[in-house]
């Protein structure tokens, strides 16, 4: 992996303190109570003191693939996660994901492609240059964040594995290891582990589909799906499967986890769509996080999460209220 290790005291440009943290510090200097409160957040303190944890990555910024909306601060992105392998509370992944070992990491490539086999993560990533893309992430639970990912285009990786003409879908699996993942030991979980996701081949080869290995210029923390995760920004967050150990090219459409659990609530496509409500709540709007208490930060949800220009053609002629 093109990871440049550097001593903990050395700052890289990607380590620049996020604006909100910086402003908090100024307010703190001014002695306001509110910022003193913000500083007691452990994540925020860590970001201030030692910079963002993780190994620094060398990458190229991709403004053409990035929004200029205000990024969610690092502590928000890394303390508020849905990663049920570590528990269903939003704080559970940050609390318990350290139990997962991500180095070494192997990805099994299977199915309808020429280059099947078990790949060390480094080998899978080696030929590709890392990019930074700042994407919106819209959760099916009606909240969203703006996140600066580092990674490689999914299309590049898949192409290098040489899928055959029979490859109509690509399927992904998260690590299944109850010893490391306490959520998988729960008696009352309705998820049939491992967590499974999939994309139609043309969706996977779309220029937006991304394999992230980093966040804010550093390697991913475990709770965000280290060491490698999918990011498909025009779909609800649960499609962006974390900690991938298996990639399988398939002729038939794979069954995906949420579709297996509640097919009337979660479909295979799961495109962000304000016109199709979740049966239990509205998808017309979303709360952009972090959200203040007195200003809930509601914004209108945009179809395909605002990426319609790049992806709307993939669904031409499809009834998206049926194929949700």
């Amino acid at each position: 992996m093109l990871i440049k290790r550097r001593p903990s005291w050395a700052l890289s440009e990607s380590e620049v303190t996020p604006e909100s943290v910086y402003l908090n510090r100024r307010k703190f200097m001014a002695g306001t109570m509110a910022s003193a409160a913000a500083l007691t957040m452990p994540g925020l303190l860590r970001a201030e003191e030692g910079g963002i944890p993780g190994d620094s990555l060398q990458y190229k910024a991709m403004p053409a693939f990035s929004t200029d909306e205000k990024k969610a601060p690092y502590p928000a992105i890394t303390s508020y996660n849905n990663f049920y392998e570590f528990g269903t509370d939003k704080g559970d992944p940050a609390r318990y994901a350290d139990a997962m070992s991500v180095d070494p990491w192997s990805v099994s490539v299977e199915g309808e492609c020429a280059k099947t086999g078990a790949y060390a993560l480094e080998d899978l990533l080696k030929p590709h240059q890392y990019q930074e893309r700042i994407y919106r992430l819209r959760c099916v639970e009606a909240w969203s964040m703006v996140i600066p990912w580092v990674g490689v285009p999914l299309a590049e990786v898949l192409a290098s594995l040489e899928p055959t003409s029979k490859a109509k879908y690509v399927y992904f699996e998260t690590l299944h290891d109850p010893d490391q993942m306490r959520g998988q030991r729960s008696m009352f979980s309705v998820i049939d582990w491992p967590y499974r996701e999939g994309l139609r081949m043309d969706e996977a080869m779309n220029e937006l589909s991304f394999l992230a290995i980093g966040l804010y210029g550093k390697t991913l923390p475990n709770q965000n799906g280290a060491p490698i995760r999918l990011v498909v920004p025009w779909k609800y967050g649960f499609k962006s499967i974390k900690s991938i150990v298996r990639i399988r090219f398939m002729e038939e459409r794979p069954k995906t986890s949420w579709e297996m659990i509640a097919p009337e609530e979660y479909g295979f496509y799961a495109n962000v769509n304000p016109e199709v409500d979740h049966p239990r709540w509205s998808q017309k709007r979303e709360r952009r996080l972090p959200s203040g208490l007195l200003s809930p930060n509601w914004i209108e949800t945009v179809k395909f999460n605002g990426y319609g220009e790049q992806v709307a053609h993939l669904y031409k002629g499809m009834d998206l209220s049926r194929y949700y």
């Binding site: 509110a34 409160a37 913000a38 007691t40 957040m41 969610a72 502590p75 928000a76 303390s79 508020y80 049920y84 528990g87 269903t88 939003k90 704080g91 909240w143 964040m145 959520g183 729960s186 008696m187 009352f188 979980s189 309705v190 998820i191 659990i261 409500d277 049966p279 239990r280 709540w281 509205s282 017309k284 709007r285 709360r287 996080l289 972090p290 959200s291 203040g292 208490l293 809930p296 509601w298």
Partner: protein, 205 residues
């Protein structure tokens, strides 16, 4: 005999202590707001905390009668109204927090007509309202024999609150199962002691 026991009991200071103890969930939320450690979505965190507090107080309220039965001490009943009112208090704050922080007063009609878990929660809350309104000594006197059957609505309210909780589960229902078990024991105890008729509200005994 019961009245003698309650006369000897240092009733007022203990009641004040219980009153203050019941404010702990609210104090924790206040502390969380003040110290900014409610995470990136404080509104959701607060709404959930208030809902859980309301449900827990419902369960504690339901614990009073069995406690009296088991210990034989009627003094427990002295705390029941306060605990029930706290359940209503937290439920009301929960509803307000939901409207303000989660909904932003948007899409109200669809939310309260189309979303089953909201309907269950809304009903649980509505059923508590007449109980809170008729909780005073004066109302008890005025209603006479009708008071008790009306207040059995708490059974329906607690069941609806549990359903409201369960229907929000996305995958792991461990927590809901634990609460469900507690509720089942509390309601089961009533069935065991008095037969099924006690669970039916508004039936003249």
């Amino acid at each position: 005999m019961a009245s003698k026991a309650s006369r000897q009991f240092p009733y007022t200071p203990v009641k004040a202590l219980v009153f203050l103890t019941c404010l702990i969930p609210l104090a924790l939320i206040g502390w969380g707001i003040q110290s900014g450690n409610l995470g990136p979505d404080p509104g959701q965190t607060i709404t959930e905390a208030l809902g859980i507090a309301a449900f827990q107080f419902l369960l504690i309220t339901l614990l009073i009668s069995p406690l009296r039965k088991i210990t034989g001490w009627a003094g427990w009943l002295r705390f029941r109204r306060m605990l029930g009112l706290y359940a209503f208090f937290y439920a009301a704050l929960h509803v307000l927090a939901f409207l303000q922080f989660i909904l932003g007063w948007f899409d109200l009609w669809a939310t309260f007509t189309k979303r089953p878990y909201i309907i269950a929660g809304g009903l649980a809350f509505l059923l508590m309202a007449p109980l809170a309104a008729t909780s005073t000594r004066g109302m008890m006197k005025r209603m006479g024999r009708g008071w008790k059957p009306l207040h059995r609505l708490i059974y329906s309210s607690a069941l609806l609150a549990w359903v409201h909780f369960l229907w929000q589960a996305r995958s792991d229902v461990t927590e809901m199962m634990i609460y469900g078990l507690v509720l089942a024991v509390l309601l089961g105890a009533r069935v065991y002691w008095s037969g099924f008729s006690t669970l039916i509200p508004l039936r003249r005994a």
